[in-house]
Symmetry: C2
Subunit: 112 residues, 2 copies
DNA sequence: TCCTCTCGCAACCTTTGGTTGCACATAACC
DNA sequence: GGTTATGTGCAACCAAAGGTTGCGAGAGGA
């Protein structure tokens, strides 16, 4: 089963708000709950909770700076998540391909 | 923004139970709520709800057969979902690569 | 016909994403 | 140094989603 390897990473990345947060953190080179919430349709507290989730699964790490808490993407962990997405996608792709081949074989058999 | 193209497909595929259901449907060549629930850690009703979600976003279609309701994967739609996964993964990959290049450039600048 | 199997519906519980409100700490400004 | 403003965290509360149990309704086989 290539699925269920690590559901935590998946579900962390599965939330659309969290995906956009990762996007913002990547393009902006990090950010705080406040700055992120300014570019998102949710409140700072919601963002803070999401940051907590991302931090728990290791997708971001914190850098306390004065009264701010700056978050940055953990590139290695994100790369791992991307690899998982690719892996699941590849598995499904392979099964779709196989089904297609079988269907074509049946078709050829019926034609012949 | 390559993200947020179609959050419905994503969230449909984002649930681990639904992913396993799609797996089962692909490998088993379709199935019913009852047969699927036998291979999953949840009840038939939970599976039925998930099938409803998958059906709503077009990832499966129904084939009423007597007292059974057989579900099969819509291959085109699943292929679309796979493409989306790949797209998001690729976007993040690209950003990670760019960050890496910039970091390396800075490193070279400091060294020289 | 009767029994069984599969299904759908409704009520309920728990988790999770989201909100508001408030208290605390740190930075900036006079 | 004291006041004001900004950034966080915590707690209570709300709504939606995943999951469960219980029940009533059709379709098939004995």
């Amino acid at each position: 089963m290539s699925v269920a390897v690590d559901d935590e990473l998946w579900s962390a990345v599965g939330d659309p708000t969290r995906r956009r947060m990762l996007d913002l953190l990547l393009t902006g080179g990090g950010g705080t709950a406040t700055t992120l919430s300014e570019h998102l349709p949710v409140t700072r507290q919601a963002v803070a909770k999401h940051l907590g989730v991302l931090h728990r699964v290791g997708l971001v790490h914190v850098m306390p700076a004065g009264r701010e808490r700056r978050y940055e993407v953990d590139e290695a962990q994100l790369a791992r998540a991307v690899a998982q997405l690719a892996s699941v996608g590849a598995a499904w792709d392979a099964r779709l391909q196989r089904i297609k081949r079988i269907a074509e074989a049946i078709q050829r058999g019926q034609e012949g």
